[in-house]
């Protein structure tokens, strides 16, 4: 499996670390988020057979956190984006 890092180009899996589900946004604190929102953010994870948006860290490269859209059934990668701007756009 190879991931095309927006900075570094196509790189082997061994340079990356998995970071889990990227579908969640951290509730702010202090804020209105109650225990349910935190429970959901910290513990609840989708486990789809198919496309999954997830974090990957280019730990053996540029150290960027990426949001990778990966098909869990065949590891096909549909999209790779930097995590930062996306998180900002999501307004967190």
């Amino acid at each position: 499996m190879r991931i095309t890092c927006p900075w570094c180009g196509p790189r082997p899996l061994s340079e990356f670390a998995y970071g889990g589900d990227a579908g969640k946004t951290r509730p702010g604190y202090p804020g209105k988020a109650g225990p349910d929102a935190w429970m959901d953010y910290v513990y609840l994870r989708e486990n789809p057979a198919g496309r999954h948006k997830e974090y990957w860290h280019h730990s053996g490269g540029c150290r960027s956190w990426l949001v990778v859209t990966r098909d869990t059934t065949n590891h096909e990668i549909a999209k790779v984006a930097l995590a930062g701007p996306q998180a900002k756009d999501a307004g967190s």
Binding site: R2, P30, H75, E76
Partner: protein, 989 residues
């Protein structure tokens, strides 16, 4: 040395000018270059090569390729011993040592062949049914007995002296198989400009051509293949890997392959024995050929029964006649070539064809003198260690013979097309499971595509090569140049899964030769409800041996479909998974073994420690001094002396392994506020603070020192164990949660060596070597941070202490670390400065009640550890919300406490449970546990830290620390957890 009784006077692709000697079971035999161990054994008249897995039946050479089920041998001696190698894949070299397997005491007389008589009592599933009870008998009696009776070769018990390598290759098109299809594909793709990697498991190209008499462009097949391979080798965009098996396809067009670099010559440590390749390609052309199918009838496993194409390849390729009186039993035209070639080599041949005479186009091809029986089957065989004759089914006639060639048709080799989960489909015309749609980026050609005509194979290879080249962006020009192939008989296969019931006994009809699975076993599986292909496989162990069912699986699917009364197309196949062929563990490990298993990290002061007799301990990848024994000292004495030096004068320890992160930027303080539970941005310049980080779930993550070196400039230390994780976590927080914060940070762990100096005389000692910094208590009080110089090097000095003594942590550029260490040593000499290791460090911090790794185990909150008052109330930080949830606060939590033995001489152990009374059993008995324990030379007895339910309100209580594993129980008193200088005065003087 005996003569080669079965070597033909001429022919074959062997070098008769040279003679090689090798041994089999200690017997000296001869061979020629070009021989495999299998062909050499046959040339010497050796058929019997092993005993079967379960019943210890005599078994002989069955094939000429990697699918060999019977002739598995052990090669080499001592550390080079390697079991379960198919003799058909071993190239003979001078001095080769090979042994048969699975026989005791010898191949000819096997004491365990009595299993063969017990066969009715060893049916499929018998392990599950027979040896269930009583449970304790399993490991004491049944398992050792079964292991001795069944099983294959034994492993060496010595280290392997050979070297193995890992390598990566990148290409546009990977072509697997250098037979006619693969060579054509590689050639067309390479001419179009694609980067081609052509891998083939044999030493020379040609595939099946090398074992046939059919020619191409008027040349013998092998010569044509050699010429094309030479042409390819001369092209810059082609890499040829011979003796290379592509064993698996993984996601994203990644392949695993093993190149047998040195297996064909005497062991030699100057080059690697095998090279393990990871191949990254854009397109795949599978031209891996096909494997012939056995026929299933009673006694079909006797030595002397052999696949038809293998028999003629021994004649054509190796100049060996495997039998003189031959019966060929077939359901297709292809085996007529065997009848032809063996008769041509001087054998007497009888042909038995299951098809009706009118349907057989090839009958005109039979040479004169070959007796043919149509619509007939072989129903049984005779002989013990070797075949003596066969019985025909309808006529009941016996025919004396010493070789029975069988052909049940051909199975395309489609592993690499199926490893991604794609299922093959039944192809009625060729009676085989074929991959009609190989999917994106993959192509099949020739035998692998169920094409069994040579002319079509050449064309298909060329077409696949051009299509793959186009798919990776190459421009094609002209038309493919297809060479002219000799004519073959039509294939005309008619499926025959087993010789009909009434004619042949299910009992001795083997479907999987390697795992001894018979038709009777499949019938039993079906009767008991395990008739589905995936169930029958597990129930009977069919296809689970080292050959992974390459020979037996399709016959089994056919038989199961008959038993279940459904078309074979619906019976489906089992799942293909890598590895398609066994791979030596050495090749998988590559260079990563022994001291090269993983990197070792040394600090800048490593040489000093080494030359001062440090005993080292591993901390992750780091080697750290554990203690420094002096003459006559054991571990305990050395640690006690080192602790005493710190408490009474001065000691120093290498703490370079700490993680170190430097932060700059206007929002650096705000960023750290969100990472630590305590407030950082309000820290004064030139000060340090102890900081604690949580995970988002509210548990403690890490702790360390934060120093403010400038308005926008911070330096933090994190624990050795979590250094990498904390950095990753900080990057996540910055890039994902708070990209708006203007802060930059960087791991500087390797850039700084670090030394902790502690003890009442520390200031006086350091004053002798530090310049540019006033160390007096007034100018540089407890928790101050500053910069100075030692030994000419710029250093950062923090006044912090984990031991409770007057202490400093000194950070020096890594290149100056050793010089700074020596300078401090020299400065401390008048005070008897003593280097100490991680054991004394542990004792010192437990005496002071400081938490470390064992307390920060992911199950403790800041409040549990008595750090609750550090948690800031007016800010957000990672973990705050979850740390405040019900269950992590309030009564019932296990809280940090100290422990000491009531009797003073009791020894405490990390991991011991804390219980109110002895002897009680149940889920709630344990009140907590000992997290860190050490003998304190300062107190004169053992001390410990632990967590105890509501511990802070139980100071003074008596409990028991029990370790049932060690049969230990010690009465203990609960204490505050600070055993030295509870008021904290010493570190502030």
């Amino acid at each position: 040395m005996t003569g080669q009784s079965h070597r033909l006077p001429q022919g074959g692709l062997i070098d008769r000018a040279q003679t090689l000697s090798f041994t089999f079971d200690g017997r000296a035999l001869s061979a020629h270059p070009g021989d495999t161990l299998a062909s050499a054994l046959l040339a010497n008249g050796v058929h019997l090569t092993g005993r079967s897995f379960k019943y210890h039946r005599p078994r002989g050479l069955y094939s000429s390729g990697p699918e060999e089920p019977n002739a598995l041998v052990t090669l080499g001696t001592s550390g080079r011993t390697e079991p379960n190698i198919p003799a058909t894949m071993v190239e003979v070299y001078d001095g080769l040592v090979a042994r048969s397997q699975n026989r005791w005491p010898s191949l000819k007389f096997d004491a365990l062949a009595v299993n063969s008589l017990l066969k009715p009592f060893f049916p499929a599933g018998f392990y599950y049914k027979t040896f269930m009870w009583p449970r304790s008998f399993w490991c004491r009696l049944y398992e050792p007995m079964i292991r001795r009776a069944a099983g294959l070769g034994a492993l060496a018990n010595e280290p392997d002296p050979d070297r193995y390598k890992h390598a990566h290759a990148h290409c546009d098109i990977l072509v697997v198989g250098a037979g006619p299809a693969g060579l054509m594909a590689a050639r067309e793709a390479a001419l179009a400009g694609a980067r081609v990697l052509l891998a083939d498991e044999r030493p020379a190209p040609g595939g099946h051509l090398s074992g046939e008499t059919i020619g191409i462009d008027g040349k013998p097949g092998a010569a044509w293949a050699g010429a094309v391979a030479d042409e390819l080798a001369a092209m810059e965009n082609v890499r040829l890997l011979s003796r290379t098996t592509v064993y698996g396809r993984y996601d994203g067009m990644t392949f695993g392959a093993v190149e047998r670099v040195g297996d064909h010559r005497a062991p030699d440590s100057s080059s690697p024995r095998q090279r393990s390749w990871t191949i990254h390609s854009d397109q795949l052309i599978c031209a891996a050929g096909a494997i012939e199918r056995p026929l299933v009838f009673a006694g079909n496993d006797r030595p002397g029964v052999m696949l038809a194409a293998a028999a003629r390849s021994y004649v054509n390729r190796y100049g060996v006649l495997p039998g003189r009186n031959v019966v060929v039993f077939t359901n297709n035209d292809d085996a007529y070539r065997t009848a032809n070639d063996l008769a041509g080599a001087g054998a007497r041949v009888t042909l038995v064809d299951s098809r009706a005479e009118g349907e057989v186009a090839a009958r005109a091809l039979l040479p004169a003198g070959v007796e043919a029986h149509y619509g007939e089957y072989v129903a049984g065989t005779k002989g013990r260690a070797h075949l003596r004759g066969v019985t025909l089914a309808s006529s009941g006639r016996g025919i004396a013979c010493d070789l029975l060639c069988v052909s049940g048709g051909w199975n395309p080799t489609i592993h690499l097309l199926s490893h991604t989960g794609r299922k093959p489909v039944w192809d009625e015309a060729t009676a085989s499971f074929a991959m009609t749609d190989p999917g994106d980026g993959a192509f099949a050609a020739g035998g692998a595509a169920a094409t069994f005509d040579l002319g079509l194979t050449l064309r298909e290879g060329a077409t696949a090569g051009r299509a793959a080249a186009r798919a990776c962006g190459c421009r094609l020009s002209g038309k493919a140049d297809i060479p002219k192939a000799g004519q073959l008989p039509a294939y005309g296969v008619e499926a025959l899964w087993r010789v009909p019931d009434a004619m042949s006994k299910a009992q001795g009809s083997f479907v999987d030769l390697q795992n001894d699975v018979t038709v009777a076993d499949l019938e039993l599986a079906e009767r008991e409800g395990f008739g589905h292909a995936e169930h029958a496989k597990r129930y009977t162990t069919l296809g689970m041996a080292t050959d992974q069912g390459k020979l037996g699986n399709v016959n089994a699917l056919g038989i199961l479909s008959e038993l279940r009364d459904m078309p074979v197309a619906q019976a489906g196949t089992t799942t293909f998974r890598p590895l398609a062929t066994p791979v030596a563990l050495g090749a998988i490990a590559g260079q990563a073994r022994g001291r090269d298993l993983r990197p070792v990290r040394h600090t800048a002061m490593y040489r000093w420690h080494e030359s001062h007799d440090a005993v080292f301990t591993q901390a992750g990848l780091w080697l750290r001094p554990y203690y420094y024994p002096r003459e006559g000292e054991d571990f305990a004495a050395a640690a006690a002396r080192e602790v005493h030096a710190v408490r009474s004068s001065v000691g120093m320890v290498d703490i370079s392994t700490l993680g170190k992160i430097e932060l700059k930027g206007p929002d650096a303080g705000a960023f750290l506020d969100r990472l630590y539970i305590n407030s950082i941005s309000k820290m004064k310049l030139g000060r340090t603070r102890y900081g604690v980080m949580l995970r988002e779930d509210g548990m403690v993550f890490d702790d360390g020192v934060v120093a403010r070196l400038g308005e926008d400039h911070f330096f933090i230390t994190v624990t050795t164990a979590h250094a990498a994780q904390v950095m990753q976590h900080m990057e996540f927080c910055h890039q994902v949660h708070w990209p708006e914060l203007d802060v930059q940070f960087c791991s500087v762990s390797e850039a700084w060596a670090a030394i902790a100096v502690a003890g009442p005389n520390t200031r006086d000692a350091l004053a002798r070597c530090v310049t540019g910094l006033d160390l007096s208590n007034e100018a540089f009080p407890f928790l101050a941070a500053g910069e100075g110089r030692i030994d000419g090097a710029p250093v950062r000095i923090f006044r912090v202490s984990f031991s409770g003594e007057l202490g400093y942590e000194i950070f020096a550029p890594a290149g100056s670390g050793a010089g700074v260490w020596r300078a401090i040593m020299e400065a401390g000499e008048p005070y008897g400065i003593t280097s100490f290791g991680t054991e004394a460090m542990t004792v010192l911090r437990v005496e002071k009640g400081h938490v470390a790794g064992p307390e920060l185990d992911g199950r403790t909150t800041a409040a549990d550890l008595g750090l609750g008052r550090m948690m800031a109330r007016k800010k957000d930080y990672i973990g705050r919300a979850m740390a405040e949830r019900e269950g992590l606060v309030g009564a019932g939590r296990q809280q940090l406490i100290g422990l000491k033995p009531v009797g003073k001489d009791g020894a405490l152990r990390m991991g011991a449970h804390l219980v109110n009374e002895l002897g009680a059993v149940g889920p709630d008995v344990s009140q907590g546990r000992v997290t860190s324990a050490a003998y304190s030379p300062t107190c004169g007895h053992f001390i410990a830290l632990g967590v105890l339910r509501d511990g802070r309100s139980r100071i003074g209580e008596r409990l028991y620390a029990v370790s049932p594993l060690h049969e230990e129980q010690v009465e203990v008193t609960v204490t505050q957890g600070v055993f030295v200088d509870a008021q904290g005065e010493r570190m502030r003087v």
